[in-house]
Amino acid sequence: MKKLSILLTCALCTLAPIFAGGSTETAEMSEDAPMKVGVIYVSAPGDFGYSYMHDQGTIAAEEYFGDKIEVIRMENIAENEESERAMESLIDEGCKIIFANSYNYQQYMQNVAKEHPDVYFEHCSGYLDNENMSNYFGRMYQMRYLSGIIAGQMSESGNLGYVGAFNTPEVVRGINAFTLGARSVNPDATVTVVWTNTWFDPSKEKQAAESLLDGGCDVIAQHQDTTEPAKAAIDRGAYAIGYNANFMELTGSNHVLVSPMWNWGSYMIPEIQKAMDGTWTSQSYWGGLDDDMILLSPVSDLVPSDTVDAVMALEQQMRDDTFDVFWGELKDNTGTVRQAAGEKMSDGDMLTMDWFVEGVIGSAK
C-alpha cells in the first residue's frame, strides 16, 4: 500500500505543472493561424444518416480549405442547455464560425449569438436568426417528390409506408411531396404514416417500419436518421426509399430504389469563405436544386429506365423553375381545398405546413 501511494503521489506531482501551466496555449490568433470552425451534431456521424451527411459536408470543407481552417467537432450534443454549453466551449476555443445541425438548437444558438456578436452562427433547419446568426436548409421536398414517383411506379399494391420522426412542417412537407409524386403516376396510391417521435432511435425506427410492412406496405420511405427502416423493408423483400445518404451504398441492396440526399458542403464552403473574407452576412437560406444542396442518389437497376428518364426530365423542369411540387389545386386528406387551382404555394405556407394532402393516411397534428 505504501509503495502504491508513493507511486501515485509521483504521478500527481507530474500532473501538477500541467494543470498549472495549462493556460499557456491561449487562443490568440495570428494572421496565418487557421480559422477555427465549430460544428455541433445532434448524433454521432457514425449514424450514417443526418449527422453523417453533415460531417461529409464538413469533410468537404476541410478538403477545400486545407490548413486554412481547423474544425472542432462536437457530437451527440443534446438539444437542451447542453448545446449552449457546447457552443460556449467552442467559442472559448476560438471558433469564428459555428454550425449546428438540429432544429431545437436554434433557441440556444440565438441566446449565445446575442452574447457573442463577433462570432458567426449557422443554424440548420430552423427559422430563428440574429445579426450574426443565419438559418439554412434545403428544399428537400423536391427530391421527395421525385422519389415518390419511383415509389409509386414500383409499388404493386399502391400501399406505401412512411416512417416519420415528428409532425413538424419539414416532415409533413416531405410526406406530402412524396405522396403527390407517387399519385402522379399511380392515382390510387396511399401513403400510411407512422410517427416515432424521435429523430434517432434505431429500434423504434425499425419497429415502425415493421408495423407498416405488416400492414401491407410494399415500399417504405422515411424521415429518420438511421438506415433501420430501409433495412427492415429489405429484410422483408420490400422496397425502400432512403434519406440523407445513399442507402443503396450503405445497405448494399438494390431494393433501395433511390435516396434523396443532402450536400451540405455546397453551403458550408461559401459561408466559411465569407467568414474568412469578412463578407459574412446574416440570411435565411432555403437552397434548392439549383444550389446543389439537395440531390438524388443513383437509381436502383430494378427501376425501369423510362421511369428514370421521366424523373430526370422532371428534375430539369424543377431546375428551370417550370415545375414545382405544390401547385394547386391541392386538397387535404379530409377533402378541403388548401391551394387554389393554378397557383404555386408560397414559401411561407410551405414552412408552416401542418396538413396532409389527399392520399395520406394519418394525422399531421
Binding site: L4, S5, L8, A11, L12, T14, L15, I18, F19, G22, S23, A44, I72, R73, M74, E75, N76, I77, A78, E79, N80, E81, E82, R85, A86, E88, S89, L90, D92, E93, Y103, N104, Q107, Y127, A165, F166, N167, T168, V171, N197
Partner: protein
C-alpha cells in the same frame, strides 16, 4: 497466495479519508490505460477535463449550474436511503416536478405575475412528492417492493412528459417542447449562468442536516434505517415514516426539477429526463448520506460531466469516451467504499510460518 476479506472492528476515520483518495487515483490509472489504448495522452486529457470544468469563469458557472440538480437529487435519494428504502425513482420524481411547474407556467395564466414562480415551484414539490409518496404508500400498506415501483414509475413519468412535450402541450412552432415560461417567472441568474437556485439547494443542505441529525424525526428515521424491527418495538411507526420520508424525498427531487426548469430550460422539453435522478443515487451513496458531503460529491460529478466536453474539443476524442471515463472513475470509488468497513489481507498457506 490467497486473500481474505474481513470486517474491520471499528470504522477507521483515517480510512474514511484515505480510501476515497486511493480509489480516485486507481480510477485515474484505469482511465489512463484506456486513454493510452486510444492514443491519447492521459495527463493532457485529465488536465483538459479539469480545465473544461473549472478552466474559466463560464466553465465554473456551468459546473455549478449542473451541480444544483445533482445535489438536490442526491439529498432526495439520501432521505429515502436512510430508511433503507431504495428510492431509485428520483428521476421520475424530478420529471414530475418539471411537469408540475410547466402546468402552472402554461395554464395558470390568471395568476398575478409575482406568484407564478412560487406557485410553480410549489406545484413541482407537490407533483414530485406525490410521485414519491405513491411507492411509499404501496410499500407501507402492502409491502410492494420499492425498487420495482420506483423504477417503473420513472418510465411512466418520462412517458407522460414525452406525451406532453411532443403532443398535448407542444408549442405550435416547435417539433417538441412546450412554450417558454414567461420570463418574469424565471429564476434569475446572479453570476453568469449561475442562478439563485443554488441557494435553495444549499439552504436545503443545512435544513436537512438539522432535521436528520438534530430532531426527533431524524432520530426515528435513523432507527428505522438501522433496525426497523427495534424501531417498531420502540413505538416508531414504520408505515407513517416510510410515507413521510418518501413524500419528502419526492418533493425535493420534484423541486430540483422545478428549479432547473424555471432557471435553465424554461420549458418542458426533450432532455427533461437527463439522468440527474439516477446520478443522485451515486451522490447519496458516495456521500454516506451526509448532506454536507453531498455538496462535494455533486460538484465532483458535475465537473466530470462538464469537463468531459473538453475531450471532444481539445483532445478530439469521440463523445463516448467521456462516458467511458466517467464510468471508470466511478466504479473504483463505489467499490472502494467496501474497504472502509472491511480490510483485505493475505492468507498464509498451511505450513508456512
Amino acid at each position: 497466495m490467497r486473500f481474505i476479506i474481513e470486517k474491520r472492528n471499528e470504522k477507521s476515520k483515517k480510512m474514511q479519508v484515505l480510501i476515497p483518495i486511493y480509489s480516485l487515483l486507481i480510477s485515474f490509472v484505469l482511465g489512463a490505460i484506456v486513454l493510452l489504448l486510444s492514443n491519447a495522452n492521459p495527463i493532457q486529457t485529465y488536465a483538459a477535463i479539469f480545465k473544461g470544468a473549472f478552466g474559466s469563469n463560464t466553465k465554473i458557472q456551468y459546473t455549478l449550474v449542473k451541480m444544483i440538480p445533482l445535489l438536490m437529487c442526491g439529498l432526495a435519494v439520501g432521505i429515502a436511503f436512510r430508511l433503507r428504502f431504495w428510492n431509485i425513482g428520483a428521476e421520475g420524481q424530478y420529471v414530475m416536478g418539471v411537469i408540475g411547474i410547466t402546468w402552472v407556467m402554461q395554464f395558470w395564466t390568471w395568476l398575478p405575475n409575482v406568484l407564478v414562480l412560487p406557485i410553480g415551484l410549489i406545484m413541482a414539490i407537490i407533483f414530485g412528492g406525490l410521485w414519491g409518496g405513491i411507492p411509499g404508500a404501496l410499500k407501507a400498506q402492502w409491502k410492494v417492493d420499492e425498487t420495482l415501483t420506483t423504477l417503473m414509475m420513472n418510465y411512466i413519468a418520462i412517458g407522460i412528459a414525452e406525451y406532453l412535450y411532443i403532443s398535448a402541450w407542444k408549442a405550435p412552432k416547435n417539433n417538441m417542447g412546450t412554450v417558454k415560461y414567461p420570463d418574469f417567472a424565471w429564476i434569475q441568474r446572479f453570476w453568469g449562468k449561475v442562478h439563485y437556485g443554488i441557494f435553495i439547494a444549499l439552504i436545503l443542505v443545512v435544513i436537512l442536516y438539522f432535521v436528520l441529525y438534530k430532531t426527533r424525526w431524524g432520530f426515528e428515521l435513523n432507527m428505522i434505517g438501522k433496525n426497523s424491527e427495534a424501531a417498531r418495538c420502540q413505538g416508531v411507526s414504520i408505515k407513517k415514516n416510510i410515507i413521510l420520508a418518501m413524500l419528502l424525498s419526492g418533493a425535493i427531487a420534484g423541486l430540483a426539477g422545478g428549479i432547473d426548469a424555471s432557471a435553465v430550460t424554461h420549458s418542458l422539453t426533450k432532455g427533461v429526463n437527463s439522468g440527474y435522478g439516477f446520478t443522485g443515487i451515486i451522490v447519496a451513496w458516495m456521500s454516506g448520506l451526509n448532506p454536507f458531503v453531498s455538496i462535494v460529491i455533486a460538484l465532483f460529478l458535475a465537473a466530470l460531466e462538464t469537463g468531459s466536453d473538453a475531450l471532444q474539443i481539445t483532445m478530439h476524442l469521440p463523445s463516448a469516451m467521456g462516458e467511458v471515463l466517467q464510468g471508470l472513475i466511478l466504479i473504483p470509488l463505489l467499490a472502494g467504499s467496501i474497504f472502509i468497513d472491511h480490510r483485505i489481507k493475505p492468507a498464509r498457506v498451511k505450513g508456512d510460518k
